[in-house]
């Protein structure tokens, strides 16, 4: 399949070279036969695309597919060891093989860059202002006072409330969202012709994410900036870009206008990708989810598995008290999935840590399967944990890197002394099979597993005890959509078969909608709204819930409404 794709990409570039369309205006950026390798490993192979002036193009693909690498090759910012071959023309000028000195004038002035990770993209020991002055130096403006004025104006433009304070701050004194806006501001300050934005929102909350994407779209319009947007979120790409390039393992799978790629994806990969995006497929798991729910409902739906009543938790930091959970109450019937949603810092993790007894509440009671959780020592909680397990948010940190998969999955059985040796071996294999992991992985260590495989190991580990309740803290937020889809499927079928009760934490409302039965919306430590998923999503009562729901990328491309018909793209299907 890869060979096939490669062929098409080649065909395209060759066709372009031999028969250029004479009347077509010169594209701002043209990438042609670009390959990049790190040492001996080629991670980007023969990629080509074009981006016209004032247009936007999204590079999409799962993690590690080479998106950032392409962006960096274009920007000539490959890390040491990276080597690019092929052709990259900016405004008709070949940029790959000119000298660093020759390329430098383009930097910032003509090509702006918004990096992926706002927290690490500003020098931590210099003030924002000092770094902004560097960007402002690219303007032909000798007067520092005026330059500062321009900086402050730009900060205001990107929606920073108090530009002067931001100017004087050090990076660590600002939140991620603010930093991301600063970075966008610094990138657009010299009014570049091309803006390369590498996942500008992946680290942010949905609400802020929407604001930033809106800002980029607006800037693109206002200043006629071309946008090379990199994202792994198909929904965002669909909403924001005129054109798409779908990558897998460094090879272009499909490229074309957003509308056509979405309406009729030509490659199997793009089709699967589209199907896995929750926002585009809200009812994908409805049948699976409700099947399990229905069977149970007839049984003992009356007895709630989890009861949380009037729980409050405050933390004291720097002498200031912070209420992370305030008067939380909810119940979860057996065999159902309850979701906790809310933006970052709203108290979701705190709620479930209280639920597991990892933190003790200041007030309120919690019981799981009739057993009280509150007011017990860790030793006393062991018996509760026998039936109550947690899957952590981050599969990269929740598994001991020195243990093998077998040891990891076996550990709870050994600790709780479940069954005989033989039976334990048996259970480990069953659990791995449940999460669809092959036995060949048994002797691997987490370092040799992909993120999705790791998270499945983590789930297997919590399943192996056959607990009644599993708490999942954003179990898929670190993963690609396709992996996420696999895991969700596993979870739902297990629930259907075993009647498990889930508490599911997520900030991805689209995902919640796909798999939860009931939901609590959290905001600043409080539950602002709760009830059945369908009821809340279809008819939100609270303004906060409404804004959350509005931020879900619809997958309906804004660009599709834009008037850019002459967009010409390398579309294999054409």
């Amino acid at each position: 399949m890869a060979a096939q794709d490669r062929l098409t990409a080649n065909t395209f570039t060759r066709a372009e070279r031999t028969a250029p369309v004479p009347l077509r205006p010169l594209p701002l950026l043209r990438v042609d036969g670009l390959s990049v390798s790190y040492g001996p490993h080629e991670v980007v192979t023969n990629v080509g695309f074009e981006l016209g002036r004032g247009e936007s193009l999204a590079l999409i693909g799962e993690s590690g597919s080479g998106k950032s690498t392409i962006a960096r090759a274009v920007l000539r910012l490959l890390p040491s060891g990276g080597r690019a071959t092929g052709r990259v023309a900016f405004d008709g000028q070949e940029v790959l093989d000119i000298s660093e000195r020759g390329f430098r004038p383009l930097r910032g002035r003509a090509i702006g860059f918004v990096p992926q990770d706002p927290a690490n993209s500003l020098n931590p020991v210099r003030t924002i202002g000092a770094q902004a002055q560097e960007a402002a130096a690219l303007l032909d403006e000798p007067d520092t006072a005026i330059r500062k004025q321009l900086i402050l104006e730009t900060f205001a433009e990107v929606g920073l409330d108090n530009p002067q304070r931001v100017y004087d701050s050090y990076p660590h004194q600002l939140s991620g969202g603010m930093l991301q806006r600063v970075l966008i501001g610094l990138a657009i300050l010299p009014r570049p012709a091309l803006l390369v934005a590498d996942e500008p929102t992946s680290a942010l909350d949905v609400t802020i994410q929407k604001r930033i994407l809106d800002l980029l779209t607006r800037l693109q319009h206002d200043f006629k900036i071309s946008l090379l947007l990199i994202t792994h979120d198909l929904a965002i790409a669909a909403e924001r870009a005129n054109a798409l390039v779908v990558l897998k393992d460094g090879v272009v799978q499909e490229a074309g206008r957003t509308a056509s790629v979405f309406s009729s994806p030509a490659s199997a990969y793009a089709r699967k990708l589209r199907a896995d995006v929750p926002a585009l497929n809200p009812d994908r798991y409805a049948a699976l989810r409700d099947a399990g729910f229905q069977t149970l409902k007839t049984g003992d739906a009356a007895t709630p598995k989890i009861e949380v009543s009037a729980v409050t938790k405050t933390f004291t930091v720097d002498g200031k008290t912070l209420t992370a959970a305030s008067d939380l109450s909810f119940t979860v019937p057996a065999g159902t999935t309850h979701a906790l949603v809310g933006e970052s810092g709203s108290g979701k993790t705190t709620a479930i840590r209280l639920l597991l007894g990892l933190e003790q509440p200041d007030a309120g009671t919690i019981s799981v399967a009739g057993e009280p959780i509150t007011g017990r020592s860790p030793q006393a909680l062991r018996s509760a944990w026998r039936h109550l397990q947690l899957v952590y948010q981050n599969p990269f940190t929740s598994l001991d890197p020195t243990w093998t998969v077998e040891q990891l999955v076996r550990e709870p059985l050994d600790r709780f002394k479940v069954g005989t040796r033989k039976e334990r071996d048996e259970r480990v294999r069953e659990a791995l099979a449940d999460v669809r992991l092959g036995e060949h992985l048994l002797s691997r260590k987490p370092g040799a597993l992909s993120g999705g495989q790791r998270q499945r190991v983590a789930i297997a580990r919590s399943l192996v005890l056959e607990p009644e309740v599993i708490v999942l803290d954003e179990p898929t937020s670190a993963l690609d959509v396709s992996v996420q889809a696999d895991i969700v499927e596993v979870l739902l079928s297990l629930q259907a078969n075993l009647g498990l009760t889930y508490v599911f934490v997520s900030h991805d409302l689209a995902l919640v909608r796909q798999l939860a039965h009931t939901v609590s919306v959290m905001h600043r430590g409080r539950i602002v709204e709760h009830g059945a998923v369908t009821a809340i999503f279809d008819n939100p009562q609270q303004p906060y819930t409404k804004s959350l729901l509005a931020s879900i990328p619809s997958g309906v491309s804004g660009a599709m409404h834009a008037q850019q018909p002459q967009l010409k793209l390398a579309v294999a299907a054409e």
């Binding site: 597991l356 990892l358 860790p378 062991r382 944990w385 026998r386 397990q389 947690l390 952590y392 981050n394 940190t397 929740s398 598994l399 001991d400 890197p401 020195t402 550990e411 709870p412 600790r415 709780f416 580990r461």
Partner: protein, 282 residues
Amino acid sequence: MTLASFSSVSRGTSLGWLSALRAPPTVALSFVVIALVIAWSVAPGLFTGHSPVAGVPAEKLLSPSAAHWFGTDHLGRDLYTRVVYGTASSVTSALIAVVIAAVAGGLIGLLAGFLGGWVDIVLARLVDVLLAIPNFLLAVIVVTAIGFDTTNAAIATGVSAVAVFARVMRSEVIKTRQAVFVEAAFLMGGSRWHILLRHVLPNASRSVLPLAVLQFGLSILVIASLAFLGYGDPPPASDWGLLISIGKDYLKWPWLVYAPAFVTIATVLSVNRISRWLRKTD
């Protein structure tokens, strides 16, 4: 046996050898040097036909030649042979130092980091004291207190490095203790000690390994310096440090200093290179 454990420490299983093969040329060269050093210490007899103790007094102080690669010493013994036979003791003493430092320091760091509270406070002050006394001064004081020979010099060197390991171990343990997988282990029903031994220790030890390798090289130098000050084994021992320190009295015949010094430098250089490589690949 100690040597076998050293080489296995360096990377572990067959996978380790694969990556060793893919190592940069300088690292590969370093491994070759270390392999040679190990071979010398395991089977010195295979590398030379001379005796390290009995010389021909009439052939004293000959300059390097085909017959005597490193020349002969003041009693007519083949210096190359003495270097080869001295390897085992040099390597062993450096190992003793590292083991003492790593085990004692590691234990202190482990307990301080994991138990926290007053245990941490008490141990931290102890480590501070050890840190506050310059390493070499500490080694000299300890070796005078326990007597002068190479093993004691190794012990003193180890003691002087305890603080370093304790510090690194403690910070690693604290880092590890806060790791999510440690909390997860509690949820899996693990007891404190189980978690300490099976989760925290192996993980925290990983960054101690390059340090231990580095310390190995450092120990060779410190023990050599102690030998230079006269705190080494009696003759006819031929540890590298002793050879250099004997040679320095015969500077008119410079190979007596420079040949063993060269071997020492090559070994330490290789060990340091490997340590740096380990740190990078980890």
